[in-house]
């Protein structure tokens, strides 16, 4: 069997359904953009899927798109779409603007080196 067909079946169709056919994430999110829950759902909200709720639950502390995707076993693209919804409905805050590490910031190098030395 063509492995691409398999990929198509299992990894593309389901996420596509979860994101209701949307592939365009509105939020400007990178794999390492962090999201954090700022409001807990009551369970009565209209338009929140189980995946949305799962994301809000996970993001009690800041988590990257990559971590959310891995934890929920969803492609990063789907997580971006869902985070866009949650951003609109005010359940999560997302790092803003697009995080680009400041390569001129001496403090950043020092913090990273100290953190690595403490490993």
């Amino acid at each position: 069997m063509n492995p691409d067909e398999q990929l198509y079946d299992e990894q593309v169709v389901r996420p596509y359904v979860i994101s209701r056919g949307r592939t365009e994430a509105r939020a400007n999110l990178d794999l390492i953009s962090l999201a954090v829950a700022i409001r807990q759902p009551t369970g009565l909200e209209v338009g929140l899927d189980p995946e949305h709720l799962a994301i809000v639950r996970l993001c009690r502390r800041p988590l990257s798109v990559a971590e959310i995707a891995a934890a929920l076993d969803l492609p990063a693209g789907t997580v971006r779409v869902l985070l866009g919804d949650l951003l609109d409905s005010g359940f999560v805050a997302v790092q803003d603007p697009q995080p680009e590490v400041d390569v001129l910031d001496e403090r950043m190098y020092r913090a990273v080196l100290d953190g690595l030395r403490a490993l």
């Binding site: 492995p3 990929l7 990894q11 990178d30 794999l31 390492i32 953009s33 962090l34 954090v36 700022i38 409001r39 807990q40 800041p62 990257s64 990559a66 971590e67 995707a69 891995a70 934890a71 492609p75 990063a76 005010g90 805050a93 997302v94 790092q95 803003d96 995080p99 680009e100 590490v101 400041d102 390569v103 001129l104 403090r107 950043m108 190098y109 913090a111 990273v112 080196l113 100290d114 953190g115 690595l116 030395r117 490993l119």
Partner: protein
């Protein structure tokens, strides 16, 4: 529960490092050795047969390969969080690379002395992009041992690119490689315009 205005939420700045190199060179192993979380991955399992083009001679038996990326996290204080991404080993999946490389502080290129040329594409890629990188030679048992000068010559690397030996399975070794990388990135950082 009271809602928190989003501009009041303090979040660390993520810093991204990449672990690259050829098929089966130890990328996933190194991410796992240094990460504080179990390495996470989005994985599409390919069999040797569907992979086809990979030459497995002299390499530990391996029946699957990782298509997407695996990653780990290292907390570095309150203000920053370090994310490590292992890149896909096969060139045909390099479309994932551009997204991974965007905004990366630097990259480790892992090399295996039995198949040194496998790391050329990674070296070329980071050179072209201007991403700071170091080459770490993963010491597999039974692999020929060369001294670093020989490896450096064989790779025809510019003199200022650090090359070091490592054992991808050991945290202390991965830590040393990452420290060398960040120091190198620091020494290569663009000079602020005045």
């Amino acid at each position: 529960m009271a809602s928190v205005p989003s501009d009041k939420v303090r979040m660390p700045t993520p810093v991204k490092l990449l672990i690259a190199g050829g098929f089966g060179v130890g990328k996933t192993t190194m991410v796992g050795a240094v990460s504080e979380i179990k390495p996470l991955r989005t994985e599409e399992v390919l069999t040797d047969r569907s992979v086809g083009v990979d030459d497995l001679s002299g390499v530990e038996r391996k029946t699957t390969t990782t298509v997407a990326m695996d990653f780990g996290r290292i907390s570095v204080g309150d203000d920053y969080v370090l994310y490590l991404f292992g890149t896909p080993g096969q060139e045909r999946f390099w479309f994932v690379w551009d997204e991974l490389a965007r905004g990366a502080l630097g990259a480790v290129v892992l090399a295996d002395t039995r198949r040194l040329s496998d790391c050329f594409p990674s070296v070329d890629y980071f050179e072209r992009r201007g991403t700071p990188f170091v080459v770490a030679v993963n010491c597999f048992e039974g692999a020929p041992v060369y001294d670093l000068a020989e490896v450096k010559m064989a790779l025809s690397l510019p003199a200022d690119i650090p090359v070091l030996l490592c054992d991808a399975r050991r945290r202390a070794s991965g830590k040393e490689v990452l420290i060398t990388l960040v120091q190198h990135a620091y020494s290569r950082r663009p000079v602020a315009k005045v």
